[in-house]
Symmetry: C2
């Protein structure tokens, strides 16, 4: 039986016309993050299981990782996210590195889950992290950088918004302001994290189930619902506004607006799943009604590097998947038309390969990208090949051209044809 030509479920083949778009995304990403002084690093796609068990969300490790035993009986994981790896690298040179450390990577990540729009089993993700900054200068830099990335793709602020919350503020509200029991806090946090995946009524019912009967009696569910619907941070109660986590978040929002990052809004329901976030969290949201979803997110996770037995380092970082970005650009008509890199196609009449190769070498030495047709097909078919590949310039060479050293240069789009010496061909193509 013939083998299937399909890729593995939930993963993508990149034919050259697809790969071009991916390269376009990656190049823009690199351009912007490097303009902020970030440097690229990388780590193996296989990691020991242990580094995920400590702090990644349970669901991911237990149900969604590609985990297996290697031939030497080590438990290994195809990385589902980059944060544990980058923490491992920083911990490995904790003393030698100088801070602030700005690192980025575009790793290939895998999660075992049901493929759906915007969420495949495999994707690439821009990971940007800044290490060694205690102040919210770090968050402000990353949120500005995210905004710059959107703008560099031609997006304007009618298309996206950046939502911000502070996990420390949420913790304060649940623990100190509402004084929920530890267990209720844990359950409420998990529930809020999933609230946009359910109807409001379901959420209210489930919220009641998270609380003890005493907590319910005191009307905590109602209080919490009011807080979670606040869009305006200044309307929170005065008690909450006294806490440092409120001030931090409020200052951040003000500074971002002043610096020209307009579309930043307070979202008290934003949790960002992962257990490791300790402070400000943020997320970019697509505002198109047909693609209303979170595209990327991140936050402060000061505790992760310390798990590797070194002094902890304050850290803020984010991850941004290629699939969600691609969908965003597509739905907002921001994808450019990309064509082949090849500058000229050489069609041969008869077998002139040795002469053609010599000429092609001259073109290449002048920085011109040349593809040669060696099929020996009819000239019309060779021109069709050039056109199908999207190469607009074709050099036609037969024995006659080799003798006279004058070569036909045809422009497919206009039909224009010239007879030129090799130097003039080079000039025409440069």
């Amino acid at each position: 039986m013939a083998l299937s030509t399909k890729p593995y479920k939930g993963a993508r083949d990149f034919y050259p016309e697809d790969k071009r778009f991916q390269k376009f995304l990656f190049e823009k990403w690199r351009e912007i993050v490097e303009s902020y002084g970030y440097e690229e690093y990388d780590a193996p796609i296989l990691e020991p299981l242990e580094i995920y068990l400590a702090k990644t969300g349970d669901e991911i490790v237990k149900e969604q990782t590609y985990v297996f035993e290697d031939r030497g009986k080590r438990k290994v994981v195809i990385r589902p996210e980059m944060t544990p790896s980058v923490s491992r690298l920083v911990a490995g040179k904790r003393q030698e590195l100088s801070y602030p450390l700005r690192w980025y990577s575009i790793p290939n990540l895998w999660r075992y889950e049901r493929p759906q729009r915007g969420r495949l089993r495999e994707h690439w993700q821009l990971n940007v992290d800044i290490f060694g900054v205690q102040s919210s200068d770090a968050e402000i830099e990353l949120i500005s950088l995210i905004d710059d990335i959107f703008k560099s793709f031609g997006a304007d602020e009618s298309m996206y918004e950046i939502r911000v919350n502070n996990r420390a503020l949420t913790n304060y509200i649940l623990n100190d302001y509402l004084k929920l029991s530890k267990k209720s806090q844990h359950n409420v946090l998990k529930l809020i994290d999933r609230m946009h995946k359910m109807e409001r009524n379901t959420f209210i019912t489930k919220l009641d189930e998270c609380l003890t009967s005493k907590e319910k009696e005191k009307g905590f569910a109602e209080k919490l619902l009011v807080i979670l619907s606040s869009k305006d941070i200044s309307k929170l109660s005065e008690d909450i506004k006294k806490h440092s986590s409120y001030k931090e978040l409020n200052d951040l929002l003000k500074r971002l607006k002043r610096s020209g990052t307009e579309r930043v809004i307070f979202d008290p329901t934003l949790m960002r799943g992962f257990d490791y976030y300790t402070g400000i969290v943020f997320e970019a949201y697509d505002l198109d009604p047909n693609n209303n979803r979170s595209m990327m997110g991140g936050g402060r996770y000061d505790g992760l590097v310390g798990l590797f037995g070194v002094e902890p380092v304050p850290t803020v970082g984010f991850g941004w998947g290629d699939v969600t970005l691609y969908n965003f650009l597509q739905i907002h008509h921001l994808l450019p038309t990309l064509s082949t890199e090849t500058d000229v196609y050489v069609a041969q009449i008869g077998n002139t390969s040795e002469a053609v190769n010599g000429l092609a070498k001259k073109l290449r030495d002048s920085g011109i990208k040349v593809a040669i047709d060696y099929t020996g097909k009819k000239i019309g078919d060779q021109l069709k090949s050039a056109s199908k590949k999207g190469v607009d310039k074709v050099m036609i060479i037969g024995e006659n051209e080799v003798r006279t050293q004058k070569y036909k240069l045809k422009t497919l789009s206009s039909g224009k044809e010239e007879e030129l010496s090799i130097n003039d061909v080079i000039k025409a193509l440069q």
Copy 2:
């Protein structure tokens, strides 16, 4: 217990100073292959097991693959090579694609084996393939391209040689010229493939073991030893020289020399392991006595696309690993000095972040890469950080500078310090 900071065995972490070298290799590779009209594609790192069982060498699939069952009970492999994947992609669009098809990729590949110099469990590999060319124009193009890659890194022909053989010629010699039994042929082929890993005497003993007693009596072992030691293709016996596979190889060697690819030699012992090669095979060899080894190789494999149930396509391709290339460049002192991409480091006196961020935005808008120090450390420590990161230009900004709008620009290597307006800073850095 603290988690280990080591990467998975046989795999590499790429700190920015390492990643820079990898990017340098990849960029050169891309530059040269694109100058020949090759276009980049990609495929998932996970593939169904079946596509390797058909034609990859037994040893690789049975002993060296990372194979496991996913949560849906599918047998999947972390790809050990790219050839089955690229054949799958071509087969998937067999009719729509136009030939010659020139494709390349730089995939991450994994093999479970004992890590050793030049051979890790994980590497990246440049894969270049040309589809749809029957004639040896295809092989000539790829061998010239390999030679161009070496030269683009500054290598000269005292450092490497390209060895060439024809699997069809070897088959002819064993099957028609020596008339060995099928079983003896198979064993002899496998033995020749490993002959450089053993002493000559061991090889002779093992060669005897491959033959039937009748074959031994006829002196086939001696005849084969003479053929295998031929360095000069023209010295082969007249009977062999009549065969088309000899002519093909001999023409190829002649044409390559005429076109300026000097260091190409005939090597009758070259087999290239994989079962799928059907014609010319080639390999680049490091001539440094301390790194005397094969660096990369490839050949013609006309049968692979056809395994996916479509009409076969003549194909020639090669793979070139990043580890062997890096070692080659290192041993021949061809690695350049690479430094950070960042153009300027901003050191702050006091907290001037808001003003500094505004200035940095102006620099970025002019294409300058700026890293800002937000640590609030003493100015001397901030200068040390800049120096450690390898950034030579430092802008020093305090409240005074913000007021006067004149900023100190210091060049660390010379100690030179200037007071400049932001526009003059931009001019100085561009």
